[in-house]
């Protein structure tokens, strides 16, 4: 059965003004990607408005630029990719005032088995804070409906502020999996 949390995030992305989604896969966030593709009428990880991208900075370059035509791009990724994304996020998206929604699953805390990934994922909120990128955190303490509400409002917030907005979701002790 599909994860209610993943379904809620995907429905919220499409219920917002998001016009394009690019993703960098992870096993944790794959249910969100699959739901996005299914809702959009595609299959095998691809649909009209959803595409895989090769790396996080590439995704930032492509999806932020959707805003130049008046659309809103979104990226679905894992938080260990923020190290790859930060230069593009700051010198392009942030500096040129382009709205962008990012939903990233987290790998730096409870439920994570991989000792190495903590090294980049645990400090991600502080990295985002230090670079002036607004972020919101979700975890087991709120239900799937709340996750959807936050994602939808985060997309709205990105447009209102003309900035990237990041939603960090910890799937530990939800109906999703950490890794």
């Amino acid at each position: 059965m599909a994860s209610a949390y993943a379904r809620s995030v995907a429905e919220a992305i499409w219920a917002s003004d998001v016009t394009r989604v690019g993703y960098i896969p992870s096993v944790t966030v794959a249910p969100v990607i699959n739901e996005l593709v299914e809702i959009d009428g595609g299959d095998d990880g691809v649909s009209t408005r959803v595409t895989p991208l090769s790396r996080e900075e590439e995704a930032v370059g492509v999806m932020s630029s959707v805003a130049l035509n008046g659309g809103l791009g979104a990226i679905v990724m894992q938080d260990n990719g923020f190290g790859n994304a930060l230069t593009a996020l700051t010198t392009w998206t942030l500096s040129y005032h382009l709205p962008l929604l990012i939903f990233a699953n987290t790998r730096g805390s409870l439920g994570e088995y991989n000792s190495m990934i903590h090294s980049i994922s645990t400090p991600v909120p502080r990295l985002l804070e230090a670079t002036g990128i607004h972020y919101l955190e979700l975890d087991r303490r709120s239900d799937a409906e709340d996750w959807g509400d936050v994602v939808k409002e985060a997309a709205n917030h990105a447009q209102m502020t003309f900035r990237p907005v990041v939603v960090l979701g910890s799937f530990w002790n939800t109906d999703g999996k950490v890794a």
């Binding site: 595409t51 900075e57 370059g61 630029s65 008046g70 010198t91």
Partner: protein, 195 residues
């Protein structure tokens, strides 16, 4: 051919196109040749010209001329992901790479392009590739590649190393570039179709 000469030709050829331009000396030199609202200067995002051009091309307003990227070899090699991404997504773009085999704005240190054939790299990733070594072939190859619509196009332009002298820095607030470019883009399709 020097970069400045190539940019002088390209500034005229791309007059009605959205143009995404790589940072530092290339942006400065293009702006000194012609600073118009269709130029989207990436002031400090090395490697992103192809990515930005791809995102821009995804939902371009109807009738808007093809998106042009003006990139350098050092910048492309900093994010060569642009090539397989283009081969996969197939945006309607033309990426022009001015290749001087050095990081022109970074002390002239070498890039890989003296050993790596960028044109073949692009072709292997699914791009329609061409090469121009002088003013005449720059114009003819540009016009040929402009007609390609089923895949992204790539124009490899070997140029001499070195930057033009006495070109002022491009000290513009990036937000003002966004504003003027998006305002231009809204009516680019209509303008292109005028008799």
């Amino acid at each position: 051919m020097k970069r400045f000469e190539a940019l002088r030709i390209l500034a005229e050829l791309t007059d009605e196109h959205p143009v995404v331009v790589t940072c530092a000396a290339t942006s400065r030199e293009l702006a000194s040749v012609k600073d118009t609202d269709n130029h989207l200067y990436l002031l400090d995002s090395m490697g992103l010209v192809g990515s930005v051009a791809t995102g821009l091309a995804l939902d371009l307003p109807e009738g808007t001329p093809k998106v042009i990227g003006i990139e350098g070899d050092g910048s492309l090699l900093m994010n060569p992901n642009v090539l397989p991404t283009g081969g996969y997504i197939k945006p309607d773009t033309l990426l022009i790479v001015l290749d001087n085999e050095v990081y022109g704005s970074t002390a002239g240190l070498p890039t890989y392009s003296s050993e790596v054939n960028l044109e073949k790299l692009a072709a292997a990733a699914g791009w329609e590739a061409g090469r121009a070594e002088d003013a005449e072939t720059l114009t003819s190859q540009y016009k040929r590649l402009l007609e390609v619509t089923d895949k992204p196009a790539f124009l490899h332009v070997p140029i001499e190393a070195g930057n033009a002298a006495d070109i002022p820095k491009l000290l513009i607030d990036p937000v003002s570039i966004t504003h003027r470019f998006t305002r231009w883009l809204k009516t680019a399709g209509e303008r292109a179709n005028l008799p």
